[in-house]
Point group: C2
Chain length 780, copies 2
């Protein structure tokens, strides 16, 4: 077999140099001629009726071109008032109600941002405050204030959300129920039953770049929308529907993105920007400040009740799980997040009896949406903590307990299907080995203790889905790639260039990737769910192969060989017997004139029915393991991660450096979520919506050592066997650290984040308990 | 046969409303963040050695970021100093010599345009003046100053210019020689031989929009170039070569164009803008003022010597022609213009013996390049004036003389090939009828006389050439069109939308045409030569048919019919037996998920070998006739065009309104060239480089009545039979008017423009001659 030329090589990201030197432009740097600046007035109350909005004083301010209020939005024949990716529960600006502090109430377009800002203060709004609920379990309790009286379903939803089940008259906007076997029988047969509660707070994506949208209507009526989105085609689709435009008249352009992590998937400020552009007939740009980003999208807080029945030897017989995800005031893509949480709740284990009930609940907090890991992080926090608690109770080694129950190639998932191309076991074993699992780590200092912990999971990717790509072979034999997926910093453009370079035998520096633009790229469903390499990479590979096929058909008659026998090397077609043409010369020869170029197409669609006609929950499976070695200061409760190992089955590492980068970056985010991060609400008001008060990991918080373990269990449907790695590194971090802390200290923290206070207090309680037990045992 | 739904309908141009309301943005309106403003220092002498350039004082001016001089350009490893579409005779800025007043010598990039302007004044340049030549015949004479000592040919020239023949050591940079039969025998057999000289002055395109270029290097090294070009792919190719970039790293974007007429085809200010962006590492925009446009490109002045031998009955036996075209200081695309002039010099007549020699000559004037009509206007000025002079001498009706010799379907062209799909005769006859040829027109006022004249021609299109298009069917059944050709006001986008609408059964308002952008569109050779409808229209039709084929293959198995039997109607596929799917529903059904779109491709390439393997000079032939009725004021020599008829064989009028618009607009330009326009040089200095002193037609100069005659002789290779009409209206105007003046007054003007002074003086001379003849005849 021919050796790969660029695939599997650690090629630095194409744009890295420009990023570290600060040269790269982001959307906030882009100014459109004649652009007005938009600012959004947001609700100051967490729940209320909007009694009155008076914008007349704002409109009088010189430089203010328009104020957008519910008066513009209601009964407007040019656009809809309601929208949303799953339910039409959002409105462009508030109509009769506001549902959280930060809910958009009005917007101003002015010639300068400061004027728009000043105008906001002149808009008078009167509210009648309503009872507030900010806890998902309180929100489902009898008598809780209801946020949405009715829910509108969109005409055409996502294919994977056909069964979304809101519970009318409650705050539950989706309920997922999964059953396998007879869970009660399982518990009855078990030697031990464990019941625990775990919780995760709401957190924030904390992308360095905030959100920007610039909307411009051409005089012809065509809308150009620049957006900091990970999902240009979804934005195009949603905006076209809201504003009653054919897709041919909406172009969404994405420039460089400063981090997404799931926060930039669905419409946010875009409908307001477009409505302002529509009203003013001028381009309008809006950039959110940091506080507004905190008010725009968060990660779902979770409450997880986990009940697991095991035999004495550690075999898990039954698992029941109840999950509440707090989706805030609007569902956003929460129903899908809930789905992923529910299907991940039993963990990467083969369990005969399972019952899962997951609820997505409205509360008066900022909307929660996708977050790297997509609900799996919360689910994994539950089952991976409990696995160690079970191991401890059974006095088993946690790795041994996991291996005993682990799902691997051929194992049966909770849906009843058999899993394929899954390197879970190899990943677990190698990660354990990398943290030197069998060696006890000892602190130098007597006030400190050390421990090790690990956690593992498998994750599905969004299925069904679709990606399409085109590759243009230029007149000079260079290539231009068109991909609708967005390089949000994960390095996908580099990987796409590698795939094209490999397939077409064109050097990397002759390849350009066109930035995502719905006019120049074919459809891609989404840049999320660790799906880009698998889907778009494969689509691109097919597109490149389509170009090769065209070239082969051109040259085969000249070479007098079959098209299949044409060899591609060094930007040339070769007969294998000494004849060759550079691509450039072949195009000239074929068309009789310089200037012809070629375009190749590739489409990848995945389905919930596999090639054999069987149901499949996911087009591919990701397996990951995290292992942590920690040192805990017993006097302060401070946890320091000495060594962190991120292990992943990536199918095939197309670019090992990029895989490592993804794993490390994700693990650091996970570390923040494990130890530091929490959105703190007081009476419905978020009190830390900024980077001073919201505790992100600093460089000094990072592990002293980080290791990555890359397992390659190829999936034949991915390009060169590649699967995905975008989310893997994040998901197991918190339970791995919590397990290491228990290993070190013997205390169990079940509520994230694991702050020094919680550790210290747990240690105090443990010592008090031990003292008491000692007293009791000393008592005759 | 099914009736066309939108083809053949007079649909107003898509952008007309935005143009007349002033809403449309042109490139001068576009500002790029961080953009510097460039200005060009131009030579003040018509010919000279550059002894010294000192930019140090300019560089010190606050706000000046860079000055570009020959020091930057010479031996620069990042780019070439020389460039040009046919010869590399141009330099980015002057090296050792300047060759005309206006030759770029240096350029400044500054934070504000006024600063750049001021900096220009601080650049010291010393010249050693050299002898000047501004007349093409003087320039070929012995001892004339030579402008270019050597000529560099580019590595890869245009396919149609393989045989370009410069005469080393002279100012002749191309010589075309055409021979058919034995011209001397032809003259010997003739009853009459006519020898005449005709001349045309240099003129200007006078586009309302001047030239703008904005160059920006991405940090990655990719170049984005916004340009007011009619030829984005040629600009991309040339700039890539000059700046040593693969085509994948050069993107040329064209926004709305305010008129081209051939002036915006090849690099002009673009290399300077790119070199400044390269030096400053910032975006640089340059907009030329009106005077600079006059200094940048003009139309070739011509001197034509025509010798024609005829029999008594009017049969032309021989024609010999010598043409000198003045290409100014640089050849630009002059060699192709010369070619067209030479092949058009014998006119639309079947002549057994022909010899043509055409010379392209350097002089110390602004470069001359393409101009609507591409050398045909000059050639037609010669032969169509002489035809009437012959008719007058033979006392034949000019129409009858033409019809006797006319080339029509099946006639033999000077290349020896037979012409097809040519409606020359029908066009001539119908145009003559429209001007009411057989009725003598009489002036009301005794100081005025009236006359009628006409002129006709056939024109080739650039062959070989290539155009490619893509059509995207969007997820909702709307369509987006990608065409590399540029709508320069001729209405091509509207026609493309009509073709797609017709083929795909999609309403016009669901179709968008993406503006020309080399990244999003496939290759198109050029927007010129009346070629867009024929080439790009057909490519687009093929692309739309490719989409239909894909849809048919998807639905045929569902309908259980053959793909060929699928019916396309109302954005739907139908079985013809009651089954149907909207495009949108079919895509969802086929892919199992919303979001798939399709792309169809179409490529048209033409060759100098036709389908039968015979040589063809042109992929299609345009035939045109112009007829004028004029009134001449004998006391002032003032000519007023009372009625002008523009006749054209367009193959098929896809949009009759657009054809009429093209014919009328072109005829008005022709009227300016006939009666008003001339660039006036004094000692190498152009003295009327502005719209005050350069005499363009005003509304009051327009004919009182204008009529269009549209003949449809379909060419099966064009979309629905369409050929082209962009240049047709202009070419015959001047000789038609000159012939009408002779009809009215009996005087013949052979030098354009036909000013009142020339008419008055010719009349005076005629009357003096008549008086003298009368005196002679009265003398016994």
């Amino acid at each position: 077999m021919k050796e790969n030329r660029v695939i599997g090589k650690s090629i630095p990201r194409l744009e890295s140099g420009d990023k570290v030197t600060g040269k790269l432009q982001y959307l906030e740097d882009v100014k459109i001629a004649g652009m007005l600046h938009g600012k959004i007035l947001r609700s100051s109350v967490p729940h209320g009726k909007v009694l009155k909005i008076d914008a007349s004083q704002a409109e009088k301010l010189p430089g203010v071109v328009a104020v957008l209020t519910r008066d513009d939005v209601t009964d407007n024949s040019h656009y809809d008032s309601h929208y949303g990716p799953v339910f039409k529960d959002q409105t462009i600006v508030a109509l009769d109600k506001v549902r959280y502090v930060g809910d958009p109430v009005a917007a101003v377009a002015a010639t300068r941002p400061e004027i728009a800002e000043e105008a906001l203060e002149r808009i008078e709004v009167e509210y009648e405050e309503l009872p507030v609920v900010t806890d998902p379990e309180e929100a489902v309790a009898e008598g809780a204030p209801i946020l949405h009286e009715t829910l509108l379903l969109p005409e055409q939803g996502f294919a994977d959300l056909k069964d979304v089940r809101p519970l009318e008259g409650t705050n539950i906007c989706n309920h997922v129920h999964i059953e396998k076997g007879e869970v009660e029988n399982g518990f009855a047969e078990s030697d031990h039953v464990f019941e625990d509660r775990f919780s995760c707070p709401p957190t924030q994506h904390a992308t360095l770049e905030t959100f920007t949208a610039i909307a411009r209507f051409e005089p012809s009526g065509k809308l150009t929308l620049w957006s900091t989105t990970q999902n240009p085609f979804v934005i195009r689709d949603q905006i076209a529907k809201i504003f009653h435009l054919p897709l041919s008249r909406v172009q969404v352009i994405v420039v460089n993105i400063g981090g997404g992590y799931g926060s930039k998937l669905y419409p946010k400020l875009e409908p307001i920007a477009v409505a302002l552009a529509h009203k003013t007939k001028r381009p309008v740009g809006i950039t959110l400040n940091r506080e507004e980003v905190f008010q725009t999208l968060t990660k779902h807080a979770a409450r997880i009740y986990l009940k697991t029945g095991v035999k004495k030897d550690g075999t898990i017989l039954a698992r029941q799980c109840r999950i509440y995800l707090d989706t805030g005031a609007y569902a956003e893509i929460g129903p899908r997040v809930l789905n992923k949480s529910a299907y991940g709740a039993a963990g990467p284990y083969e369990i005969p009896n399972v019952m899962i009930d997951a609820y997505l609940v409205y509360t008066n907090r900022a909307p929660a949406g996708a977050f790297r890991g997509f609900g799996l992080t919360q689910a994994t926090w539950g089952h991976e903590c409990q696995m160690d608690m079970i191991a401890r109770a059974l006095k088993m080694d946690p790795v041994e307990l996991r291996l005993k129950n682990l799902l691997d190639d051929g194992g049966e998932f909770i849906t009843g299907e058999r899993l394929n191309f899954l390197g879970m076991k190899e990943c677990l074993v190698k990660t354990a080995s990398a943290i030197d699992w069998d060696t006890k780590s000892v602190a130098q200092d007597s006030t400190k203790v050390r421990g090790k912990g690990l956690a593992c999971f498998i994750k599905a990717t969004l299925t069904p889905s679709i990606s399409s790509a085109t590759v243009r072979l230029n007149e000079d034999g260079s290539a231009t790639l068109y991909v609708g997926s967005v390089d949000i910093g994960q390095g996908s453009d580099t990987v796409m260039a590698q795939i094209a370079s490999e397939e077409l035998a064109i050097p990397m520096d002759q390849i350009s990737v066109v930035r995502s633009d719905t006019d120049s790229s074919l459809y891609d469903l989404t840049t999320s769910s660790s799906r880009t390499t698998f889907h778009m990479g494969r689509a691109l590979q097919l597109a490149a192969q389509d170009v090769k096929k065209q070239l082969a058909c051109m040259v085969a008659p000249i070479f007098q060989i079959s098209p299949e026998d044409v060899v591609f090397e060094n930007q040339s077609v070769k007969s294998g017997e000494g004849q060759d043409f550079s691509y450039q010369d072949l195009l000239v020869k074929h068309y009789g004139i310089r200037g012809a170029n070629l375009v190749g197409r590739g489409v990848v669609k995945t389905s919930t029915i596999n090639e054999k006609g069987e149901h499949q929950h996911s087009a591919f499976w990701v397996a990951g393991t995290g292992a942590a070695e920690v040192e805990v200061d017993k006097e302060s409760g401070l946890v320091r991660v000495l060594h962190y190992v991120a292990g992943a089955d990536v199918g095939k590492a197309l670019n090992p450096l990029a895989c490592q980068g993804q794993l490390r970056g994700a693990a650091i985010t996970g570390l923040g979520q494990a130890l530091l991060e929490e959105l703190v609400y007081e009476e419905g008001l978020l009190i830390n919506p900024n980077f001073f008060d919201y505790n992100l990991p600093r460089f000094l918080d990072l592990p002293e050592k980080m290791t990555t373990v890359i397992v390659e269990r190829p999936n034949p449907n991915g390009p060169y066997g590649a699967k995905g790695v975008g989310e893997t590194g994040l998901i197991p971090v918190a339970p791995a650290i919590a397990n290491a802390i228990e290993d070190a200290l013997g205390v169990r923290i079940t509520e994230l984040p694991i702050t020094p206070e919680k550790v210290f207090q747990a240690l105090q309680e443990k010592e008090a308990r031990e003292r008491q037990e000692a007293t009791v045992s000393r008592t005759p």
